[in-house]
């Protein structure tokens, strides 16, 4: 089924504005996607009609807010195909989801001499928590190398695995290059040596169909704001048996069963990991984002996004001085590039002057940029509401910019 992109665009008020006197072309979706009107309305609606603290409230509003809140958990369970809703934990974002695993699973199960494996493609948020943990525990962080196309060297990963490997924490889709990693293989191999696997799904959650049972990952982390939902909300999926074996994350309200000054017994999952009043409004509004995605159908969205991406790759490649960075055979949504002789920041500023929003810099992946011996890239990232016409605008602007240094 083809999507009516015009109808979709009409659901996103922010897209209909001028920036620097030009119609906005928003190509920074890997950083955050825009929000449909339904999500914006749901936020206001919650505060207008339902605002109340959830769980344990004796009154109608509290019960209503609790029902809505827990409904999102069910929807996220379906969205990820988790076995049960208790395996879904709400966090502040992908970063907190990863840090939660480091602070709980890591604290309990990673010991001196143990090894954690990540890849060269990781975002800083899937590097630094493990570095901190390894330093604290005397564990060792190992990094899977990549080739010049930005693809993981699978045979090198196989060599890194050993009985000392406790965890493999790997990005599902690279935020800097768009590479889709061979996670099925990685998970199978890691499990064979008894290691657990965390997938950083910050990018993949909006561009691939996620089935945590089929993937068989132990953890899956992602953020609502990259799938048309509100900021400040993330999800950590974890297998029940793994979550139950983990100590709590933060201490506070909600995460307890019984507290005396001598001793506290902890609540069951997922509440064990959700201390304090959660981000209720954003959790509830996230339903609308999931409904938006479910309504269009993930596969239809991905088909459209891939078509726009391929079109952009084809067109931009004809620009003299255009250098693509990251040309994995399997990639989604993201087009990272340089213009010969120009700093990415200058290119970004000139595109912005033409109303085109892209991201420039290292994309929080400095080790990856070092691997390519560059300071950063210009990154255009596409979403369901982007069109080939917008790619044409990008092409025209970029041709003009590239000519400054590539006559």
């Amino acid at each position: 089924m083809g999507l009516n992109i015009n109808d979709i665009r009409n659901q996103f008020p922010v897209l209909h504005q001028e920036v620097n006197g030009k119609p906005l072309v928003y190509l920074d979706n890997a950083a955050t996607t825009q929000k449909p009107q339904s999500v914006i309305d749901a936020l206001a609606n919650y505060y207008e009609k339902d605002n109340s603290n959830i769980h344990r409230g004796a009154h109608t509003l509290a019960a209503r807010a609790t029902d809505y809140f827990e409904k999102t958990r069910l929807m996220v369970q379906q969205f990820t195909n988790a076995r049960e809703p208790e395996e879904i934990i709400f966090t502040k974002g992908t970063t907190e989801s990863i840090n939660l695993v480091a602070a709980t699973f890591g604290r309990k199960f990673v010991q001196q001499g143990d090894e954690i494996i990540i890849s060269s493609l990781e975002h800083h948020s899937n590097i630094v928590p493990w570095q901190m943990l390894c330093k604290e525990k005397g564990a060792v962080l190992k990094v899977i190398p990549i080739n010049d196309q930005g693809e993981i060297l699978v045979e090198e990963f196989d060599k890194l695995l050993s009985s000392r490997t406790k965890l493999v924490s790997i990005v599902h889709v690279s935020n800097a290059l768009g590479t889709v990693n061979p996670v099925k293989h990685i998970i199978e191999k890691a499990h064979a040596v008894g290691a657990k696997v965390l997938l950083d799904g910050a990018q993949s959650s909006s561009h691939l169909t996620i089935d945590v049972q089929q993937l068989d990952c132990d953890f899956f982390a992602f953020s609502a704001h990259k799938i048309y939902g509100p900021t400040g909300l993330g999800v950590l999926y974890g297998k029940r048996e793994v979550l139950e074996a983990m100590p709590p994350y933060m201490g506070g309200g909600e995460m307890i069963k019984e507290v005396t000054f001598e001793k506290t017994t902890f609540n069951d999952i997922p509440f064990k990991f959700e201390a304090g009043t959660p981000n209720i409004a954003d959790v509830i509004a996230f339903q609308k984002a999931l409904e938006f995605v479910n309504g269009l159908g993930k596969s239809n969205m991905v088909a459209h996004e891939n078509e726009v991406l391929r079109y952009a790759e084809e067109r931009l490649r004809t620009i003299k001085g255009f250098i693509p960075i990251g040309e994995a055979a399997d990639k989604v949504s993201i087009l990272s590039f340089l213009i010969q002789g120009m700093h990415p920041f200058d290119v970004g500023m000139m595109l912005d002057a033409a109303g085109i929003a892209v991201r420039t810099g290292h994309h929080c992946t400095q080790p990856l940029m070092n691997r390519f011996q560059i300071e950063g890239t210009v990154r255009a990232s596409f979403s369901v509401y982007n069109t080939k016409e917008e790619v044409d605008i990008l092409y025209q602007s970029l041709s003009k910019i590239a000519k400054l240094k590539n006559k």
Binding site: N20, G21, M342, H343, F345, D346, M349, M350, D352, A353, A354, E375, L404
Partner: protein, 144 residues
């Protein structure tokens, strides 16, 4: 020699011709950045990097006949353009002139809306460093 006020007025005039068109303004800044005289390679050291700038900026000075000459470079053309404007106003002047100069052209040409607040902070760091050089020369002269 024209005073710093006249040069600032010149710059304001040039930018007013560009009007509100951000695209032409950015292209213009990059163009003047490209005309910045070459930076001596032996001065391209970590010591000469200005802290607080998002892009890399190297700044060094010469002091002859009681006049400060600034030499600068950056890894981005837009920053080079901004530096070249500052150099045009402040370079080849006495420390006292430099210290007395109020750089009002930056606000007048609406620089912060052109380059954004983060880069405006970088620009402020550049100006501070240029004035610190002038102050250092001024004080070393007083001691002699």
């Amino acid at each position: 020699m024209t005073d710093t006020r006249e040069i600032q007025e010149e710059i304001i005039d040039e930018f007013s011709i560009l009007g509100d068109d951000k695209e032409s303004t950015i292209y213009y800044i990059m163009e003047i950045g490209n005309k910045l005289p070459p930076f001596p390679e032996n001065e391209r050291t970590d010591e000469n990097i200005i802290k607080g700038c998002q892009s890399k900026v190297w700044l060094t000075t010469k002091f002859e006949d009681n006049k400060v000459t600034y030499l600068a470079d950056s890894n981005t053309d837009i920053t080079k353009g901004l530096i070249s404007l500052l150099i045009r106003v402040l370079s080849n002047r006495t420390p006292q002139e430099i210290l007395d100069t109020e750089l009002y052209f930056i606000d007048k040409i609406g620089m912060s809306s052109i380059i954004g607040s983060q880069r405006s902070n970088g620009l402020a760091s550049m100006i501070k460093q240029m004035k610190l050089f002038a102050l250092a020369y001024q004080q070393s002269k007083l001691k002699v």
